[in-house]
């Protein structure tokens, strides 16, 4: 076994000079979609290249260079996610439902959905609608925003998100539910019924 892996190592040469030209944009896109912050995405890409360079001798050629680099980037993103999960991600969410007492699970009075004015004219896609939606998503706690974006905007499979973020499916649906009730309220207050 040792012999085989030694052989493999000798055969695999990483073309590190070409990394940035070949993969920087792909990796940057990959990161930006997931962390929704261009500066942070650039940092993560840079960290990934550094880490890749340091552990280049561990590359066994079982996957392509790009796949290997992406797997490092994935770890970096999860690490970032863990960090926000332990601090900012825990930020208190404004609940839409009573969470104890005899009314548990019922709508909080001030959060009850109101009917919307001029619905048809308010749903025409335009730049204003887009930027209002973006600012409502940004107002979500970071973890909720992340999961909502991955599921709804990037349309990832549920299992994929769960695997990447290390959460269960039912966990994911609770997060999606909370994100969407918050978003609904935010859009109601700032777009539909101003």
């Amino acid at each position: 076994m040792v012999f085989i892996s030694k052989m493999a190592q000798e055969q695999v040469v990483l073309n590190t000079d070409k990394w940035i030209d070949n993969y920087a944009d792909y990796m940057y896109n990959y990161a930006v979609v997931r962390v929704n912050n261009s500066d942070l995405a650039k940092d993560l890409v840079q960290d990934t290249f550094f880490a890749g360079l340091k552990s280049a001798k561990n590359f066994q050629g079982k996957s392509t260079e790009r796949t290997w680099l992406i797997s490092i980037l994935k770890r970096k993103i999860i690490d970032h996610y863990r960090k926000i999960n332990s601090k900012k991600g825990q930020a208190e969410v404004r609940m839409n439902f009573y969470d104890d007492g005899e009314n548990e699970g019922n709508w909080l009075e001030e959060r009850v959905p109101q009917s919307w004015d001029n619905q048809s004219e308010k749903t025409i896609e335009n730049q204003e609608l887009k930027s209002q939606l973006e600012s409502c998503i940004d107002a979500l706690p970071e973890k909720y925003g992340l999961v909502f974006r991955m599921k709804t905007i990037q349309e990832f499979e549920t299992e994929e998100i769960c695997k990447e973020l290390n959460i269960t499916a039912s966990n994911l649906w609770v997060i999606i539910h909370r994100a969407r009730t918050q978003l609904r309220k935010c859009m109601e207050d700032n777009w539909f019924n101003i």
């Binding site: 590190t16 990394w19 940035i20 030209d21 920087a24 944009d25 940057y28 896109n29 930006v32 261009s38 650039k42 890409v45 840079q46 290249f49 550094f50 360079l53 340091k54 839409n96 439902f97 548990e104 699970g105 019922n106 709508w107 009850v112 959905p113 009917s115 919307w116 619905q119 749903t123 896609e125 609608l129 887009k130 939606l133 599921k151 709804t152 905007i153 990037q154 349309e155 549920t158 649906w173 609770v174 999606i176 539910h177 969407r180 009730t181 978003l183 609904r184 859009m187």
Partner: protein, 87 residues
């Protein structure tokens, strides 16, 4: 028997959100529809939710079409940083 089918508004809207992604089970849908019989608020929530899903989908489409790139300058800086590490 019907006790098993009774759900709160919180649970009903969770199912509603789930079904926006085609992920709710038949039993959940049955529970949701029974809930609608007695709850106008959640019916309204569902109607608005369908509309929001359309908006989100439109937004998703627009986002996917935008590709972002790092600028040439940023790549050059990154290359230099990498060179430093190699030495």
């Amino acid at each position: 028997m019907f006790k098993n089918f009774r759900i709160t508004c919180d649970e009903a809207t969770t199912i509603c959100d789930k079904s926006q992604y085609g992920a709710s089970t038949l039993l959940e849908k049955v529970k949701l529809n029974i809930h609608f019989l007695g709850c106008k608020i959640c019916s309204l929530y569902t109607k608005q939710n369908n509309l929001l899903t359309k908006i989100y989908k439109g937004h998703a489409k627009a986002c996917k079409e935008t590709k972002v790139c790092m600028t040439k300058e940023e790549k050059e800086i990154l290359k230099k940083e990498l060179e430093k590490i190699k030495k």
